[in-house]
Symmetry: C2
Subunit: 214 residues, 2 copies
């Protein structure tokens, strides 16, 4: 039991190392192209150990999706600043979202590109997380509308549609920002605020854009 050879790394730590290597490999090379050999080598462990800990490529991929989804949700929740005016809250949430996706491009690729594009059960894992984000944004827009008190009747259905639009725009922008050199998380968040805030504010204040009459 020499000091070096006997140094045991706890299972939880080993698993994290394997998943770090897996997220990087799945995110960069895609789910299909990624091999367990590559992941084991990057993690500095043997391939049988990866199978022993995480069972199969499918289970490893599912574990990666869950971990990255939880990390993204945690980042957005911790960035939220309840009590601020609605635009400040939205700005804080968007900055947290784009900062996290910029700092974890492989994790975002696993969620946005890989998890959605390889069928079940992976797409469902992603959509569970997406539903949580849509619910959060729906709550935020609904609360802001009530706070504005101008249009307390802004129907729940309209609020849900606006939340879908905002989340769809944020997802598309996060992918674009990560692929476009020099776009910072702050710029991406500002682009989306520029795009959406004036319209949301007008709606809350009872000033919707009016379709042209012919």
């Amino acid at each position: 039991m020499g000091a070096v050879k006997g140094k045991r790394i706890p299972r939880a730590v080993r698993e994290q190392q394997m998943m770090d290597a897996a997220v990087r490999t799945f995110g960069r090379r895609g789910y299909r192209a990624a091999s367990m050999d590559e992941i084991a080598e990057l993690a500095g462990v043997s391939k049988p150990l990866v199978y022993l800990y995480l069972n199969s490529k499918d289970e490893l991929f599912t574990a990666c999706i869950r971990r990255e989804a939880q990390a993204l949700l945690a980042a957005v929740w911790s960035g939220a600043e309840p009590g601020l005016p609605a635009d400040r809250q939205l700005w804080a949430g968007l900055r947290a979202f784009f900062t996290h996706t910029a700092e974890n491009p492989d994790g975002w690729s696993v969620l946005y590109r890989q998890a959605r594009t390889h069928g079940e059960p992976f797409a469902t894992e992603m959509s569970v997380m997406r539903d949580e984000i849509v619910a959060f944004v729906t709550g935020l827009i609904g609360a802001a509308a009530r706070e504005a008190h101008r249009d307390p009747a802004l129907p729940d259905r309209d609020v849900a549609g606006l939340a879908e639009a905002l989340v769809g725009a944020a997802e598309a922008l996060a992918g674009w920002a990560n692929e476009t050199p020099g776009v910072s998380a702050k710029e991406a968040a500002a682009t989306l605020m520029n795009f959406s805030w004036a319209g949301l504010e007008n709606l809350m204040n009872g000033r919707p854009w009016q379709p042209p009459s012919r």
Copy 2:
């Protein structure tokens, strides 16, 4: 050669019937679950004839993606009304888009849910179409910005980001509108105009939303 038995349906018509049945089956049951038996039965032909005409399930699915992508692009192009003010053009394009996706929910499901979620080569087929739509929207926003003459320097990169946000929002809303009873194409288009136009107009007029200073 009796009149009934000899009635020959041209190959092109047969193919369209098979593809109609395939889009409906892929769109409703998903790529994996859809069977060639089901598609042949719905088209009223034998399974060998489907294979004779369209080779394989993969090729049939690819043909469906191409046809639905072309139909969607054609609908958006024909809805565009060049020469109108930018908000009218955007409104016309969005109405055409949401009208098409509402009238062809199976086709939209093939493009938005199925094509993107079953790996290659299908995801690339979808992204080629998406790139065309993003380029179209980028041109529209860029032209509107130049027309407004207030901020001729609105960088191309910012315009590209806004176009990504708009397309991402439109995609998310189309899926939501089709799944939410009672949401019309006009309402979905108005939701997106409400969401985005005020912000775009402010940007073009040099009045971006300002991040709060701390």
